[in-house]
């Protein structure tokens, strides 16, 4: 069951569609009534102050969290009813890399590859693509945050996903690391897939963003093409409580 290729990029099926998506933790509304759609071949940038619900939204789309109400679909598959189909198409890199420290870089990737049904590919290729060439045999414990981040990105990249979901990908990355993220994103969108990137670093994010979703207090403050936002985005996002 290798990854199904993304469906032909017919415009009618949105890559991602959310309708009144809501998630509550006890009494607090983390995300409330989000309705938006992301066409294939595009990158959605999710911005907003801390606690605005960015991470919760991403985890809902990646099926890591179950919505309290409302619906979300990835290439037509419901994130709750067809969770396994969604997981087969989505690669999610969370804010914490979540790699096994006492395993080496190569072993981490080999495990991820086997779990995605891609056991027999050479890992050296992926290590080189994320700038970790030659570090395959080093235990990840010795890696810096930036290097662990690159390994986590390689782990998502080798799954050749139709949907790439990145939570604060730029954390700890140098300039070359940022280019790596953008290569991954554009490669995914060119294949007909889409990417969702949540970040505070508007300067870096806007270069690849097609659409921007502004969250504030778990609600949709704004959703428009990137060009529309240009420079003043930071002030607006920051102004909401």
């Amino acid at each position: 069951m290798s990854n199904p290729d993304p469906p032909a990029a017919s415009a009618d099926i949105p890559a991602i569609a959310a309708t009144a998506l809501t998630r509550r933790f006890g009494r607090a509304w983390a995300v409330r009534d989000l309705t938006f759609a992301v066409p294939p071949r595009s990158v959605l940038l999710v911005v907003g102050p801390n606690g605005s619900g960015k991470t919760t939204l991403l985890r809902l789309l990646a099926t890591a969290l179950r919505p309290t109400s409302g619906k979300a679909t990835v290439f037509g598959h419901d994130v709750v009813a067809h969770a396994e189909m969604v997981r087969a198409q989505v690669a999610f890199v969370s804010a914490t890399p979540g790699v096994y420290d006492s395993l080496t870089a190569r072993e981490n990737l080999q495990f991820a590859a086997a779990m995605c049904g891609r056991r027999f590919e050479p890992m050296t290729l992926w290590l080189e693509r994320v700038g970790l060439a030659g570090l395959g045999e080093h235990p990840v414990r010795t890696f810096s945050q930036g290097m662990k981040r690159r390994l986590a990105l390689a782990r998502a990249w080798l799954a050749v996903p139709s949907v790439l979901i990145l939570d604060e990908p730029y954390n700890g990355l140098d300039a070359e690391g940022v280019r790596l993220v953008h290569t991954m994103v554009t490669e995914t969108t060119q294949r007909g897939g889409c990417a969702v990137v949540a970040t505070q670093e508007w300067e870096r994010g806007r270069r690849i963003a097609d659409g921007v979703l502004v969250l504030s207090g778990g609600r949709l403050a704004d959703h428009a093409p990137a060009a529309h936002f240009a420079a003043h985005i930071l002030t607006m996002a920051g102004s909401h409580p």
């Binding site: 509550r24 933790f25 006890g26 009494r27």
Partner: protein, 217 residues
Amino acid sequence: MRGQTFLGAIALGLLAAGAYVGLVASPPDAFQGEYVRIMYAHVPNAWVAYVAFAITCVASALYLAKRTPVYDYIAHSATELGVVFTGLALVTGSIWGRPVWGTWWTWDARLVTTAVLFFIYLGALLVRGLADDPRRGARLAAVVSIVGFLDVPVIHYSVVWFRTLHQPASLTRGDIKIAPPMLAALLLGLLAFTVLFAYLLTLRIRLARAEDAGEAA
């Protein structure tokens, strides 16, 4: 509220009648003398505890299948009641054993199984309380309750066979031939406790529902 107190009143009446028959109206036992009266307090507790755990297991399975909160309220309430009544069964069991057999604790299969049940369901309650998310806590408690209930018959028979090698099945609870009047006292006690259990269960379920509503308001 009216139905609730009505049930409570019936339970109270039956308990009083049961106590009266158990303590006064029924004859002492040939072998145990007056101490047989403790049996009327011990057996109903154990019976209700097993009923509670059967309800817990069914409600837990339904909750996992259907995920409707009401099944979780029932499972949670039945587990808590089960732990209370198992505790009482163990205490009254050992109080009964002390004068009649001279020991607080006999390794009789039924007592051991009841004790094991107490810990399994205490575990289920703790798992529910210590989980990081209330909904997940309910699911984990359901899993523990189901495994626990499936395990009870195996535990019971393994304890029975494990002990019989050393000590013949000791004469506790139902084994002794019960004279009719004593049987009446016992059955009245069982009925009274069953109605009491129904009353407590409905009360506890309403509490669980109210607390959940309060939590998620």
